[in-house]
């Protein structure tokens, strides 16, 4: 069984999704979804340990060797991402039971859990596979599940936000497909390692360069890089709480991973950063995105929308790290992918708990929360501190590495931008904290969220602090992943 781990991570949710959709009521599909998420998490952790022992794991689907068959190729980067996806799913699923019962209702629950499982399947598949076309298929599976889940929000604007994401997401996916087609015409292969071997000889070809442009643009639409982020704020704001927590923590991160895989493994550092000046595109966009999205989130009255804009800003940090094109920058980017996933999930889950009790997540709903819902509120505060990048939280670890990477290149203005971004985060988180501590609640009775919401939430909050103090695990894995990625796809 241990040799089949790469495919089990993907297969378990795939098989469980139709089972969940056939069940009745809310409880049975929830049990299935939760158990499958936990099973996938165990598989991912075992995979990470295996990669640590044996190096890169290659799994030939159906026994067909690459390049004829599809291969799954697990190195440190995807093992880390798989742990993030399945880990977040394992925490969000238990949390979903109460939140979904209130926001979606029993009748639609089986379909909701089936869609959640399909989303996890798509994300894990994109991460695990070593085939460029296979990534497109899994990308569309995860996107279709996302459109469905977004449309389940209570507000009717969830429908329009889902529709605009459907249009933009499909353009992004199709751009990626065009790019892959161009590469296939030039090389005759779809296997990423094969492509990495053949592309350097063709680096002067206009077709390959156009393909590169299509792929990067398509994925940047998916990961919501400024100015392609317009679908994200509405989508996150109106989606059900559990969906926002899972998507906010994983979906854009997997798109980031695909971008990294394309830029570093498939095209290689030489092509992406020397022959094509990708830094000059990514870094300015990231800087503008970081400052503008952070500034916009200060003005939001809906806290979920505020965090959605903050997600755009945090994605910009990650793109900044990738845009540096160095091993240190890439390490910082991968660290922030993982760490931002943990902190954003914690923040969105605490907002979900507020919505569960207060019925809304406007700034006025946060008034006096320190008295009425102390545990939920403190979870939000710790998640917020992590977002700002206060020492002893995970946010500090990744921002520290990002600043070190910028200093290594002598990019002083970028260091200033990163610090300004943190100050802006301090302002928008500070507004909520101020309302929670110092404003008087409309109703002074204590109404803490139920344990079913608090326990998963606090697991993530403790992970935020634990991984912020004991940084060896994440930093070592991110460094090893960056070293593998910098070496390109040919050297294994």
């Amino acid at each position: 069984m241990l040799t089949h781990l790469p495919v089990l991570v993907v297969l378990a949710p795939l098989l469980a999704a139709p089972v969940a959709s056939l069940m009745r009521g809310a409880f049975a599909p929830w049990v299935v979804a939760t158990l499958v998420s936990w099973f996938s998490l165990v598989c991912s952790l075992l995979l990470l340990a295996q990669v640590g022992e044996q190096g890169v794991i290659v799994y030939n689907m159906g026994g067909w060797e690459a390049p004829w068959g599809i291969e799954y190729r697990i190195d440190f980067a995807n093992a880390l991402l798989l742990v993030l996806i399945t880990g977040m799913a394992s925490v969000v699923m238990p949390y979903a039971r109460l939140s979904v019962r209130q926001e979606i209702g029993e009748e639609r629950s089986p379909m909701f859990y089936a869609a959640m499982l399909l989303l996890i399947l798509g994300l894990c598949g994109m991460t695990a596979t070593g085939d460029a076309f296979n990534i497109f298929v899994f990308l569309e599976i995860s996107s279709l599940a996302t459109y469905t889940l977004l449309a389940m929000g209570k507000d009717r604007r969830a429908l329009t936000s889902s529709f605009s994401y459907l249009v933009m997401g499909t353009i992004g996916g199709t751009f990626y497909l065009i790019g892959v087609g161009f590469l296939y015409v030039m090389t005759g292969t779809l296997n990423i390692v094969d492509l990495a071997e053949r592309l350097p000889a063709l680096s002067d070809s206009a077709t390959v360069r156009t393909g590169f442009a299509f792929i990067v643009t398509g994925i940047c639409l998916k990961l919501a890089l400024f100015p392609l982020h317009l679908w994200l704020p509405n989508a996150y704001t109106f989606a059900p709480s559990a969906v926002t927590a899972l998507i906010g923590a994983t979906a854009t991160k997997v798109a980031v991973y695909v971008l990294v895989r394309m830029i570093f493994t498939m095209f290689g550092v030489e092509f992406s950063f020397v022959e094509i000046p990708l830094s000059y595109v990514l870094v300015p966009l990231a800087v503008v995105g970081l400052l503008s999205a952070s500034s916009v989130s200060i003005m939001q009255l809906n806290i979920k929308r505020m965090l959605a804009y903050s997600s755009v800003a945090q994605i910009s940090y990650i793109i900044l790290g990738i845009g540096m094109g160095t091993a240190m920058g890439l390490t910082a980017a991968l660290l922030h992918v993982f760490n931002h996933g943990i902190m954003k999930a914690a923040l969105f889950m605490s907002l979900g708990a507020v919505a569960y009790r207060m019925g809304g997540v406007e700034l006025k709903d946060m008034n006096g929360l320190a008295k009425t819902m102390p545990l939920t509120f403190w979870a939000f505060v710790i998640g917020g501190l992590s977002l700002i990048g206060v020492p002893l939280t995970v946010g500090f670890v990744s921002k520290w590495h990002l600043i070190l990477a910028a200093l290594e290149l002598g990019w002083w203005p970028v260091v200033v931008v990163i610090l300004v971004g943190s100050i802006l985060a301090l302002i928008y988180i500070g507004r909520v904290v101020e309302a929670g501590f110092f404003k008087e609640p409309a109703d002074n009775t204590r109404r803490e969220a139920p344990a079913g919401l608090l326990i998963p939430l606090w697991i993530l909050v403790i992970a935020n602090i634990w991984l912020g103090i004991d940084t060896r695990l994440t930093v070592d894995i991110a460094e090893a992943a960056a070293a593998q990625l910098m070496a390109g796809g040919v050297v294994l």
Binding site: F136, E140, Y147, R157, S161, F163, L166, T170, L177, G181
Partner: protein, 117 residues
């Protein structure tokens, strides 16, 4: 591949741009979905046309034939067509629900009802 000259690519680019333009310019959600379909189909055409090898036979093993067209792009596009159909279905379902809850599928009307859309 040269059997079609560059005409296949001209058609592909024309269809792609027509689809993109339709998605951007029309305010009606159904028209947007039609544009999306045209856009996706143009990419299918591109894949299918570059699988053709000049003088190649259909990719079925036949006595005495050595040159075959490439079947792989066709197989890939079969998958992509399924994805396209699923996307259209979800898009249409969303449109129906938007019509039910807003009473309109014109984006301009939706904007007037709620500026944040």
């Amino acid at each position: 591949m040269s059997g079609l000259g560059i005409w296949n690519y001209v058609i592909f680019i024309f269809l792609m741009m027509a689809g993109l333009y339709m998605m951007i310019s029309s305010s009606n959600l159904i028209k947007k979905i039609i544009g999306l379909n045209v856009f996706q189909t143009s990419v299918f055409f591109m894949y299918i046309s570059f699988g053709y090898v000049e003088g190649g036979a259909g990719p079925v093993l036949t006595e005495g034939v050595t040159l075959y067209t490439n079947p792989l792009p066709h197989v890939l596009i079969l998958t992509a067509i399924v994805v396209g159909v699923a996307t259209t279905a979800v898009g249409l379902a969303l449109t129906i629900r938007i019509k039910e809850s807003f009473g309109s599928i014109e984006e301009d009307d939706l904007h007037k009802m709620d500026p944040s859309i």
